[in-house]
């Protein structure tokens, strides 16, 4: 599911409430039948292990290598001293290699994170989250600092992985056409309230105005459109393709979240 909305609507806050990086002031968050807001220290850590988070600014430890950054996804499962000595169980290491190959970054395994490009760092962040073997993926603005081509590659990768591993993914994203292209369920937030929840096909100009405010949602003609204009699979008014790009929806029924303010 993609979260869209104007800046300050609370998308980032909402995502961070789910794993309690930000403490919600009231209400409850139920993940897989468990109320996250009621958990204490060790129980919260156990819950966080099942929730993988992918950050806008990648949030990698620069001076550590790609492999060390990816392995840090398993810190919740490994004791303090073993993790400091980098003695992770062999199955974990095997899985790490698999995931690195899947995201396409296995050649950089021993490179320091600060030697990678933005798109590569994003992949390491994704690998780290995947190594947690999570049930839920929280993704905060995965494409904000990426160019259009890398953005689409990353979105494709994310949604592909979500399908393969049958994960629920909550994706905070500002690029509405990109979201609509890949994600089967869109939730629009405005000033902390849900104002839209449904299929991207139902994102009419009226809906967008409700979410973002008054604006001319017609695609602006006049020369250089952006490179998104490749397919001519019949677009509606804002260049969104008629069919959703991902088949096999992520399984929302298993996870429900409610926030009430």
């Amino acid at each position: 599911m993609a979260l869209i909305g104007p800046s300050g609507a609370g998308k980032s806050t909402l995502i961070r409430c789910i794993n309690r990086l930000i403490e919600p002031t009231s209400g409850s968050i139920i993940v897989d039948g468990e109320d996250i807001t009621r958990l204490n220290g060790p129980a919260l850590r156990r819950a966080r292990r099942r929730i993988g988070m992918i950050f806008q600014e990648h949030a990698l430890v620069d001076r550590l290598t790609v492999m060390e950054n990816v392995l840090s996804g398993q810190l919740g499962y490994v004791g303090f001293w073993r993790s400091q000595l980098r003695r992770f169980p062999q199955p974990t290491i095997d899985r790490a290699f698999e995931i690195l190959e899947r995201v396409g970054i296995v050649d950089y395994v021993d490179k320091r994170a600060d030697q990678l490009s933005g798109g590569q760092r994003q992949r390491v962040g994704i690998a780290r989250a995947l190594l947690q073997d999570p049930q839920l993926l929280l993704v905060d603005e995965p494409t904000a600092s990426l160019d259009p081509k890398t953005s689409r590659q990353v979105m494709r990768l994310l949604l592909g992985l979500a399908t393969e591993h049958q994960l629920t993914a909550v994706i905070n994203i500002h690029d509405v056409p990109l979201a609509a292209m890949f994600v089967p369920r869109i939730v629009g937030l405005k000033q902390g309230e849900i104002v839209f929840d449904g299929d991207p096909k139902r994102l009419t100009p009226e809906v967008l105005t409700t979410v973002y405010g008054e604006e001319n949602w017609e695609p602006e003609r006049g020369g250089d459109d952006d490179e998104e204009d490749d397919g001519d699979a019949g677009s509606d008014e804002f260049g969104l393709p008629e069919t959703a790009a991902v088949n096999g929806a992520a399984d929302e029924a298993a996870n429900e979240q409610e926030t009430s303010r």
Binding site: L21, R48, G52, F55, S83
Partner: protein, 270 residues
């Protein structure tokens, strides 16, 4: 830049009249302070000795040159002691400074009370010169290297902890957040997120302090805390200036060496 109208012309001055007055008053005040200080110092000075200074200096120079090079044989062990005082003192200080720094940094301290306590430790350590610590320690523990090592350590803790906790407060918080989000424990978050970020700073600070400590260790012997300062004290006490100048040469060589090491290590960290 103030511009005023004077008659028919526009006049530019660097400062407004008010600023100019304040500046002038400031300098006057400074001058008065200096004059008062000078009167006081002068009052404590026996000017007869001062007029004699040139002759004294010449006399001193003649006694110091040529240096008594044969004395150098007896200086190798004290020099070795001096290096050890500095090195062991720095090592002890590093071990203590790390927890103190983590307690003092706003983003890693478990509780503000700990932070205040750590800051008090740091302040005390920084304000008291290592020579004063050495004086106290020699009085309590007796003369010898131990007093010197502890004196160096006590002074260095404040220095290292202060720079280290400033480095800790400046780390990028995003990886820290990410590590917590994977379900890692506090210690693991520190080990994977904080420590790698402050490693270069820690190494640089340590070597820098070691270099300063070498200098400070050379004189601790003047109060009995071991090292080549003991020989210096003895030579000067016996007015053996030719021996003292050999000691000075050795100190100079040692300091140049330690500064070279320090610069090389800090270079390779970048």
């Amino acid at each position: 830049m103030p511009v005023r109208q004077v008659g028919e012309h526009q006049v530019w001055r660097l400062r407004t009249p008010r600023q100019a007055l304040l500046t002038w008053l400031g300098w006057l005040l400074g001058l008065i302070v200096v004059a008062v200080c000078f009167r006081f110092v002068s009052g404590q000075t026996m000017w007869v000795f001062v007029w004699d200074a040139g002759a004294q200096a010449a006399d001193l120079a003649s006694r110091m040159v040529p240096p008594e090079w044969s004395y150098a044989r007896r200086l190798w062990v004290p020099l070795w002691d001096t290096v050890n005082i500095a090195t062991f003192g720095t090592l002890i200080a590093l071990v203590v400074s790390v927890p103190v720094a983590f307690l003092a940094a706003r983003n890693t301290t478990p509780h503000p009370v700990f932070r205040q306590a750590a800051l008090v430790i740091i302040v005390f350590s920084r304000s008291v010169n290592s020579l004063i610590w050495a004086l106290l320690l020699v009085s309590v523990l007796g003369p010898g290297l131990l007093a010197g090592i502890i004196a160096i350590a006590l002074r260095s803790i404040g220095f290292v902890s202060k720079l280290l906790f400033e480095a800790i407060e400046e780390i990028n918080p995003r990886p820290i957040e990410a590590l917590a989000a994977t379900g890692a424990q506090g210690g693991q978050v520190l080990g994977y997120g904080v420590v790698p970020q402050i490693m270069p700073a820690f190494a640089g600070i340590s070597v820098y302090r070691w270099d300063i400590n070498i200098r400070e260790s050379t004189v601790l012997g003047l109060v009995g805390a071991g090292g080549i300062g003991l020989q210096l004290d003895a030579s000067i006490g016996e007015l053996q200036w030719a021996r003292a100048s050999v000691i000075f040469v050795m100190i100079l060589v040692l300091v140049v060496f330690s500064e070279w090491v320090s610069a090389r290590v800090r270079q390779s960290i970048k």
